[in-house]
Symmetry: C2
């Protein structure tokens, strides 16, 4: 029996990736003033820097900002002006202070799920920024616990389940990333409700999961989450 349901934060409860992509677009425009856009593979090089730096920075907007500055200096052969570096700092701060906009219907979905299960928010990224977003979301009171983690892998989910003294089979995770929300939970023997968001960070696209799977379901939006959990629950029985 599923007893605990985890919800992801970014792009599951509230919009997030759009802010990052807007900043990436502005980054390309800014750096594009120095180099030939057709040759520069700006987006790929930024993603490469971000991936290389993750082992040192972890996830989040501060690391992204540092990676943008690093990439901009490299791509322009250090010709970028300090004023433009200042603009990159400003873009990073904009991501850190953007308003939290909930996905339509998500509050109602969490309330409904909380009638039948314990609910916990499990979100990845920068501790300080995620706490600020949780606070601004107005959803904190709906959750029994809020876990901000540095990586969403099997070890992390196992630690969280340990804190609740639950086995994986008693846990379902709801989120928009197959890589971070669904795959590790299903691998442990838990359940997944996959709610794709219309844009996904390239890094989160890497997953070994594909096609139909008895332990997770796709949903089209928040309104379908409660029924999907009931359905998974019934597969169990």
């Amino acid at each position: 029996m599923i007893e605990l349901v985890g919800f992801d934060g970014d792009d599951t409860l509230w919009h997030s990736e759009g802010y990052y992509q807007t900043v990436h677009d502005q980054f390309e425009r800014l750096v594009g003033a120095y180099v030939d856009l057709a040759d520069a593979r700006l987006h790929e090089r930024l993603l490469e820097t971000e991936k290389r730096n993750i082992r040192l920075f972890g996830y989040g907007a501060k690391g992204m900002t540092l990676s943008m500055i690093e990439t901009a200096i490299e791509i322009t052969d250090a010709r970028i002006s300090a004023t433009d570096v200042q603009e990159l700092l400003r873009l990073g701060k904009e991501v850190l202070s953007h308003p939290v906009e909930l996905l339509p219907g998500i509050r109602e979905a969490v309330v409904e799920v909380a009638r039948n299960f314990q609910v916990v928010l499990i979100t990845k990224g920068d501790l300080f920024h995620q706490e600020a977003k949780v606070a601004r979301s107005g959803l904190a009171d709906l959750f029994h616990r809020i876990e901000i983690v540095s990586e969403k892998d099997e070890a992390t989910y196992q630690r969280v389940l340990g804190e609740f003294s639950l086995a994986p089979v008693q846990f379902a995770m709801v989120g928009n990333s197959l890589r971070s929300d669904i795959e590790p939970v299903v691998a442990l023997g838990g359940w997944g409700v996959y709610m794709p968001y219309h844009i996904t960070w390239a890094h989160e696209m890497e997953t070994g999961l594909a096609g139909e799977h008895p332990r997770y379901m796709d949903v089209a939006g928040p309104g379908e989450i409660p029924a999907a959990l009931s359905l998974l629950q019934s597969r169990k029985g």
Copy 2:
């Protein structure tokens, strides 16, 4: 009766502030090439930027690096070269990857304290960096729980105590910051063991605590921690 003892991480278990101060010195040397060092109040201005940005960045090396770049651009009226900005990025990465060196005798002190109390590590800062330091320290297994928090105030300590179902009077905190480790715990009705470190970040110097206080004790080093806890325990009785 004290049942739970919290240990701070940076400059209590392992050396930290020295790495930040080395980077601050290198920052001053680098920016000093552009401005008159006597007039520029470099250190004060960096500290001002850091304090202003804390509400957006929180604590940690990534925020410090962004604040260094911001300050350097401001102080030089945007004359700083991209190559020097790159050097600031390198300094920030150095702080994030420095080896973890334990304070002499601290492992033995934690082992000794763990004979009589539950012990928990409560450390403030960047989630990813702090997790990396805990892992590198080799001390993780000594603690019943590791709490990485964004701010060490009364609300945070109350939340942690709630997770252990303990009252403040059952809790003592060991650390090198009166502001973050001792004052909020004592204010709640708990106990403190204050172990000053030879250098302290200016931000942590701001405290309302002064002089003798029946609920906390100073110790000269790790070897004195177990006896200080026994002494506080006896004051209680």
